[in-house]
């Protein structure tokens, strides 16, 4: 065990600035009553609207007002009453400042960094797939999930990590729960990361296959990033804004350029099959992981971050201007029957699995521990950065859901159902969706493809193409002048850009984890500057996700259909591990009466993930249960039959192998989580009996830093900051000197 053991007292320390339980002023009572009314009206409209078409803005404002209330009241309660964040206590950034990883950072800047790190393609894709259940289940889960689970997890993990000098999730589990739990968590984190990378890459492959326009624009991001890297290293060191400005301009040019080349010989060369794209991604991932970060990773990250924020702002404005109308049912028949073609399984538990990012994402716990908490200036700021950052991601998820439910729903199902179901042509897909009860025609599917200048939109699974069609519709409605093809490829481009950034960074993080772990037994391998070690570890990580990616791409049953549940469950199981740690720590700190804050979302998360795991492993329905599926196919194979959608014996073998593998992975993830949970339960029982246990929390040191605890400085904090600036003298004051 490392770190100093201290018993934290629950007593003092909550009365600091910004945390006081002072009564609300008349003005804020009026404002918050108004916000609550807006929310109640919007939810009311969503609840009673049946059969008639309603505007998507009801969804948007129901979500926004709920976020506002949750942030104002619930996050404040957690930060100051439950966790007792204390402005008088120095954060690790202040105590250990070294200008590298420990670094006091302005709260608004850190909010931006943290948000850019947690939000990527996940909140854009999950809600699109979940839209097969109708718009209401997804909306409710995204909003309620983020308020009571996702944002709570991010906030509490960040706080506890901050109190432990920014320790990682794995380290905290090892020290606070025990070695076995720690090892289980380490393996789970690594395995889950591989699955996440593979599924993200799968989405890119599905979006780019047979699309020369998309491939051209995405491929150009590599030379653009290399140029930016060279610019920042050699031409004009450090001028990031210039380099990013040039990069974004070139990027937009690359999107336009894709339209010019798609019908040329070059376009023909860039019309790649999925298998070739897998190879390209694997090679790219390996090279990016071995190259120095300044060449590719850092500049690409700048591009991706600015695109991310630009797109979100653009989308919010467009939704308000375009006011699109919802085409989907509130709750579709698939929700009740569990027979949806996009992914198998009924509403419970599979909506909660499919939408991970945006409602509750375990992966965030890796970012909320480690990097971000080492940069927080004041303890209370975890409320803005942890809780607020996750609310923002949830807003992205709601926007993505809206984009999926405002397009023609026949087209939605034609795009998102696997080729085995749609038959792959506009005619067969039209027949398929007519069978589902939509009146979409082959002509309208072909017209939709032509409008975005793609050869075909049928069975473009993975969510990204459907989202791009939705966004193209919203953007061209909002800004007029058509341009659907441009907006479609713009959307594909930024999704692929986010994903490739995640793949770059994820491969590198995976490589570090591997080198670090193996370094425990083989010292040399743990040396990050040892070239052969880098190459071997990168090859192993890329090889692992590349294999899963290849399996997904060639799966006759459809890779997204088969792998997305695995991805969602893995992500939610990681959340279960993180929430377990939070609950253990609350009890150890003697806050049993507040343990429900993370205990309830933990219980809910365990119920959904264990139900889903159980169904995926043991269900007798071959569409849901992996092993039953493998059994059905192997029986048929033994009898010499070929079951659709497999077309020959080889594909039969493939289905059997893939389903068995998926089933094994699923079982391993669930077991690892249970090991952590059972281990944690024992620690909790001991802690309850003892009325709290010592933890590795660092002892309190008085803070000398004057910074606001919340987003806005209180009058008291403003006076303190003014005093500080007078003392330090003009110019030497920190960022707040710029405060308006």
């Amino acid at each position: 065990m490392a770190g100093t053991m201290t018993r934290t007292d629950d007593g003092g320390g909550a009365s600091s600035a910004g945390s006081g339980g002072s009564r609300l002023s008349m003005k804020s009572v009026l404002i918050w009553t108004a916000v609550a009314l807006v929310g109640a009206v919007c939810w009311g409209v969503l609840a009673i609207a049946r059969g008639e078409t309603i505007s998507a803005l009801w969804l948007l404002f129901a979500a926004l007002s709920s976020y506002a209330i949750a942030y104002r009241f619930y996050s404040r309660f957690i930060t100051y009453r439950v966790l007792r964040a204390d402005s008088r206590r120095a954060t690790p950034a202040e105590r250990l400042e070294n200008g590298v990883d420990f670094d006091v950072t302005d709260r608004r800047v850190l909010f931006g960094h943290h948000f850019a790190a947690i939000a990527g393609a996940g909140p854009l894709v999950g809600p699109v797939l979940a839209a097969q259940m109708g718009y209401l289940p997804g909306t409710i889960w995204i909003v309620v999930g983020v308020i009571f689970a996702g944002a709570v997890q991010d906030l509490v993990v960040m706080f506890f990590s901050m109190r432990r000098n920014g320790k990682s999730l794995g380290q905290m589990i090892r020290e606070e729960i025990g070695l076995v739990g720690g090892i289980a968590a380490l393996i789970a984190v690594f395995a889950i990361m591989i699955i996440i990378l593979a599924v993200l890459a799968l989405i890119v492959v599905n979006a780019l296959a047979e699309s020369p326009w998309g491939v051209f624009s995405i491929a150009l991001t590599i030379p653009i990033a290399l140029f930016m890297g060279f610019y920042l290293r050699v031409l004009r060191p450090g001028r990031v804004l210039e380099a990013t400005g040039i990069g974004v301009a070139l990027l937009l040019l690359a999107i336009v350029g894709g339209g010019w080349i798609q019908d040329t010989a070059l376009g023909e060369t860039l019309t790649l099959s999925k298998e070739w794209l897998v190879l390209a991604l694997v090679v790219y991932g390996f090279v990016a992981s071995v190259l120095p970060v300044w060449m590719l990773l850092t500049p690409r990250d700048y591009l991706s971050t600015f695109m991310k924020i630009g797109v979100i702002v653009l989308l919010a404005i467009s939704l308000i201007v375009a006011r699109p109308v919802i085409q989907a049912d509130a709750v579709s028949d698939f929700a009740r029957e569990g027979t949806g073609p996009v992914f198998a399984g009924s509403l419970f538990p599979f909506v909660f699995i499919t939408i991970a990012c945006g409602a509750l994402s375990g992966f965030h716990a890796l970012i909320s521990s480690g990097t971000t908490p080492k940069m927080v200036a004041k303890e209370g700021q975890v409320r803005l950065i942890g809780y607020g950052g996750m609310l923002m991601e949830s807003f992205v998820a709601i926007s993505a859901l809206i984009a999926a439910v405002v397009i023609d729903q026949g087209l939605y199902f034609a795009m998102n159902s696997p080729a085995g179901a749609t038959g792959g042509t506009a005619e067969s897909a039209a027949a398929f969706v007519q069978g589902l009860g939509f009146d979409t025609t082959a002509q309208s599917i072909a017209a939709a493809s032509a409008a975005v200048q793609e050869d075909s939109l049928v069975s473009r699974t993975g969510g990204a193409p459907a989202l791009a069609v939705g966004l193209a519709q919203i953007f061209s409605q909002a800004f007029g002048g058509g341009g659907q093809a441009f907006w479609y490829h713009f959307a594909i481009m930024f999704e692929a850009l986010f994903i490739l950034t995640a793949v770059d960074a994820g491969t590198r993080v995976g490589r570090f984890m591997l080198q670090d772990t193996i370094g425990n037994v083989w010292k040399k391998f743990g040396d990050l500057s040892w070239r052969p070690g880098n190459i071997i570890a990168s090859a192993v990580v890329v090889g692992l996700w590349g294999t899963v990616l290849y399996i997904g791409v060639t799966d006759p049953l459809g890779g997204v259909n088969q792998l997305f549940p695995l991805f969602g469950i893995a992500n939610q199981l990681l959340a279960a591990i993180a929430l377990t740690l939070c609950t253990v720590l609350l009890v150890k700190h003697g806050k049993l009466r507040y343990a429900w804050v993370t205990g309830i979302p933990l219980a809910w998360d365990l119920v959904i993930t264990m139900t889903a795991s159980w169904q995926k492993i043991f269900s007798a329905d071959p569409r849901v249960g992996y092993f039953t599926q493998a059994g059905v196919y192997s029986d048929a194979r033994a009898a010499g039959e070929v079951l659709a959608p497999a077309q020959n014996q080889d594909q039969m073998d493939q289905v059997i192998f893939n389903s068995t593998l998926n089933g094994i992975l699923q079982s391993v993830f669930a077991l690892l989580t249970l090991v952590v949970a059972v281990h944690a339960a024992l620690v909790i029982a001991r802690a309850i009996k003892a009325g709290g246990l010592p933890t590795t929390e660092e002892p309190a040191v008085e803070s000398k830093l004057v910074e606001p605890a919340g987003l806005f400085a209180t009058a008291e904090e403003k006076r303190a900051m003014a005093d500080r600036d007078r003392l330090v003298g003009a110019g030497a004051g920190r960022s707040e000197a710029e405060e308006k």
């Binding site: 590298v100 990883d101 302005d106 608004r108 800047v109 931006g112 960094h113 790190a117 947690i118 939000a119 990527g120 393609a121 996940g122 996440i196 993200l200 920042l232 290293r233 060191p237 450090g238 001028r239 990031v240 804004l241 990013t244 120095p292 970060v293 300044w294 990773l297 850092t298 990250d301 700048y302 991970a356 990012c357 994402s361 992966f363 965030h364 890796l366 970012i367 480690g370 990097t371 950034t501 995640a502 770059d504 960074a505 994820g506 590198r508 993080v509 570090f512 990050l528 992500n571 110019g731 030497a732 960022s735 710029e738 308006k740």
Partner: protein, 62 residues
């Protein structure tokens, strides 16, 4: 009106420079001036920052 716009523009510029890390160079110059050090060249400074980033990859989520 123009005063508000100027302030908003200044605020945005400040935010972007902080966000991208460009401001770190200015912080460094201020730090050197305060302590009377001779600052290294910007090229050297940015190289050292890039080398530090090499060992500290920021994880990116999905």
């Amino acid at each position: 009106m123009t005063a508000t716009l100027t302030r908003a523009w200044e605020g945005l510029r400040w935010y972007l420079k902080e966000f991208t890390g460009e401001a770190r160079w200015d912080d460094y110059l201020a730090h050197c001036a305060e302590h009377g050090h001779e600052p290294m060249s910007r090229r050297q400074f940015e190289r050292e920052r890039a080398d530090a980033a090499e060992a500290n990859p920021m994880s990116r989520c999905c």
